[in-house]
Amino acid sequence: MHLEEFAEGESFFHRLDPRVKLLTLGPYTAVIAVAHDPVVPLAALVLSSVMAVVAGLDRKKLLNRLAAVNIFVLMLWLFIPFGYPGEELFFAAGPLTVTKEGIVYVLTITMKTNAIVVATIAMLGTSEIFSLAHAFVHLKAPGKLVHLFFFFYRYISVLHEEYSRLRRAMKMRSFRPRTNMHTYKSYAWLVGMLLVSSYERSRRIYNAMLCRGFSGRFPVIDHFSLRKHDIIFGVLMSTVTITFVIILTLS
């Protein structure tokens, strides 16, 4: 499943207690997000990159994801540096002037974005979605929200599986997309079938849950237990986050 492409592995982050991850990632990203000078984002970017290396993330897949995010950042680069109030830089293209402050500002945003995304992938991406859902349960998140999270994921992956199955079935019979009516029609069937069969499947899954005594509450079997490396990591991350806060308040 493409949603969990980083979840398999044996790194430090894969073994980390998901509760610790959730608890430490929140404040960490929050501090990065509110930082207004480039120092904290730069430090965070370096730290997040270290995390990515420790988590043993597949470089190609990671860059793919970052590319998607940075398309938006690129748009900022097209607009903000021009006309941002501040000291004019070496060149002025007609009415457009690039300012030093403008560049620093966009650079800060770029570093913030990438630091947050990389840290999130390194920490949350390395847990199975279900252990994250479990972690939410253990952290006393509202049950309804957790169910929503769980089923949302469940249905997305069902939809994706159906889609791949149908695509395979089409390929097996030598379907090749072209620009003609046959192609459009086949894609329309594909989408229609996807909707119908996913709906039917979700109903059957619900039936199966009923047959096993489901009454609206999801039981959790695996209990997490904090181990030494979880605590060490928690303390480390908290120290870093607090340091960031101190730097921010001093500057």
């Binding site: 499943m1 199975e128 979605i129 279900f130 252990s131 469940r154 992956s157 599986e161 499947r201 059957r204 899954i205 039936n207 199966a208 849950m209 009923l210 047959c211 096993r212 005594g213 489901f214 009454s215 039981p219 079997i221 695996d222 209990h223």
Partner: protein
Amino acid sequence: MGQLINIRNLSFGYSNGRKLFNGLDFSLEKGERVGLVGPNGAGKTTLFYLIMGLLRPESGEIRVFGRPRENERDFSEVRQRVGLLFQDSEDQLFCPTVEEDIAFGPLNLGLSHSEARAVVRETCKRLGLNGLEKRVIHRLSGGEKRLVALATVVAMNPECYLLDEPTAGLDSRTTERFLRYLREYADTYIIITHNHEVLKNAADRIYELREGRIEPFSL
């Protein structure tokens, strides 16, 4: 009253199609091991769904454990005591790992975590699933999924099994293991299968479902 399931004058048809059953009668006694055969599309799976209350009949009576079953409340008791193995295991398994899926039922029945864990261990041992507990379900093979699906039913310790083509897609050794399990631990069940070998081994009586009626059948 040794009658576990008693169906009288049952009529049912899917909303869009012809009538599948029109006045069907059927009963299952405690301790009976019944084989059910019938052509594709005869309505065997549908009959199981009706017994479990996943579909509701148009008319007729379904008695399970000696009591008429009509509403959701009645059937939720049936579902705790009758175990349905779905024709398609993909539909039956919805938890992330084998262990969690097997434990889902027992936990719903109110067992504690350590009890549920013990049930999981015992079930895996009986079915020869040791070593599969921590595996992620959607990465199992078709036959492995089938066995895990059976395990999820077995873990609820039902008094009666409804088995919808349980051995389809199993190799001969796994089929043998499955039949041995039935012989040792299950005394009342209905098994739908197209496999004569399995029928000979696992069923004392065989019925055929054809054109909306159930009749005795001999191999």
